[in-house]
């Protein structure tokens, strides 16, 4: 059972918002006493997802939540965009697959960096990616 303790939404529309979002995520991670390595992993994951959002969907919204499950605290990030959507999620989750000339490690790499990863996408409607990183996990 995952309980949400606090919620905060950040709009990401332009390049400057990316830095702002990362700072907010970092603040939250520091607040729940996440270790430095996990902090960096969470930040990198957030960075990957927000870059995807900027690049393919021209921005979107990120919800930052502090969640708790038993004695474990963590950060949940929900990235929602109204972009073109991903036609083939299985392919997008494969290492080295990219429709946009990048390394193709963003989504699969992000999955490896966080504890829980969920992606939902509908072509023409948008994509929602939810990740959870536990403070010590």
């Amino acid at each position: 059972m995952v309980l949400s303790l606090s919620k905060d939404t950040v709009q990401v529309l332009k390049e400057q918002d990316v830095v702002f979002l990362k700072n907010r995520v970092k603040e939250v991670a520091v607040k729940i006493k996440m270790g430095l390595v996990n902090q960096t992993r969470l930040l990198t994951a957030a960075s990957e997802l927000v870059r995807n959002m900027m690049r393919y969907a021209n921005g979107g919204v990120c919800q930052i939540e502090v969640v708790s499950s038993g004695r474990n605290n963590g950060v949940r990030l929900i990235f929602t965009d109204k972009g073109p959507g991903i036609p083939d999620i299985t392919a997008a989750m494969r290492d080295g697959f990219s429709t946009g000339k990048s390394l193709g490690l963003g989504l699969p790499g992000t999955k490896r960096l966080v504890n829980e990863f969920d992606i939902k996408s509908k072509v023409g409607e948008g994509t929602t990616v939810t990740i959870i990183k536990w403070a010590n996990g």
Binding site: E15, L36, V37, T40, R41, L43, R51, S102, L105, L113
Partner: protein
């Protein structure tokens, strides 16, 4: 038949200016430290001139009409100079609002027996002047935004210095997030400097980069490839433990690139590549 309002105001131009100046000088918020009274007067005169001479019965409420562009231009100019002189937006706004008061006062003196007419005309003037004060705010904000943009450019420029740490060895400390635009600047500066100094080794130090995601890694790989094409070797230093772990998890392959944990070890590696040796000097024996 009484005069139309705009004709009335044109006739009373002198009065309006005098009244406005009186109001401004009497105001507590007068900033004699920022602007001299003469200058204030000439500014005010210019604005009243432009405002009154461009008034016509049709354009009273339509600020988009072309006839207003000289007024908006003058007002914009005033707002920008005032912003530079250190006026607060409120003070610049008050500058326009006090003109409105002067206009209304003149109107009140002239239209005596017809409250309804006075009200409707006041309303028009109100609307017009409110619009103009919004213009000052817009210009003020635009001026500020320009300052911010200029600073952004300056930061981008100074934040990517190329340092000559040794004859033939360049170091490039990167601080902050690497995005496409910055990578472009970094690459340009680095390649240019390699040509100019004839260096054979470049060290990219990423100690100041908070997180390395796949895009940053891709940019780094591109920079290294470009440096190699120029015939120089590129070493990436400043890889912190948490960054190393993240890069591994992401699955980024940096094995083709020479990477070091610290700038010092990158430097000593370059010495080795250049077959240089750093030794403690032995004291010269005295006889």
């Amino acid at each position: 038949m009484s005069l139309k309002t705009h004709q009335l105001l044109q006739k009373k131009k002198k009065n309006i200016l005098e009244l406005w100046m009186k109001n401004q000088l009497a105001d507590e918020g007068l900033r004699e430290d920022l602007i001299s009274n003469d200058e204030l007067r000439s500014q005010s005169e210019e604005l009243v001139d432009a405002l009154v001479s461009n008034l016509s019965s049709q354009n009273f409420t339509d600020l988009n009409s072309d006839e207003w562009s000289p007024v908006i231009e003058i007002l914009g100019g005033i707002a920008i100079t005032r912003a530079r002189q250190g006026f607060s937006p409120r003070e610049t706004g008050n500058f326009v609002f006090s003109l409105k008061e002067a206009l209304l006062e003149v109107l009140q003196q002239e239209i005596v027996n017809d409250p309804q007419h006075l009200f409707s005309e006041s309303l028009k003037i109100n609307r017009l002047m409110d619009n103009l004060s919004v213009v000052t705010f817009e210009t003020f904000i635009k001026g500020r935004e320009e300052v911010i943009l200029r600073q952004t450019d300056e930061i981008a420029e100074i934040s990517t210095p190329v340092i000559r740490v040794w004859d033939g060895i360049l170091a490039l400390p990167i601080i902050g997030t690497l995005d496409s635009a910055r990578t472009q600047i970094v690459m340009e500066n680095l390649l240019q400097e390699i040509v100019e100094t004839g260096s054979s080794i470049a060290i990219l130090d990423i100690s100041g980069v908070p997180a390395v995601d796949s895009l940053v890694a891709q940019h780094l790989i591109k920079t290294v490839s470009a440096t190699r094409l120029m015939g120089a070797e590129c070493i990436i230093s400043g890889i912190r433990p948490e960054i190393a772990q993240t890069v591994v998890h992401l699955g980024i392959d940096l094995s083709n690139i020479i990477t070091k944990a610290t700038l010092a070890s990158a430097l000593s590696h370059s010495f080795k590549l250049m077959k240089l040796e750093v030794r403690k000097s032995t004291p010269i024996a005295k006889f």
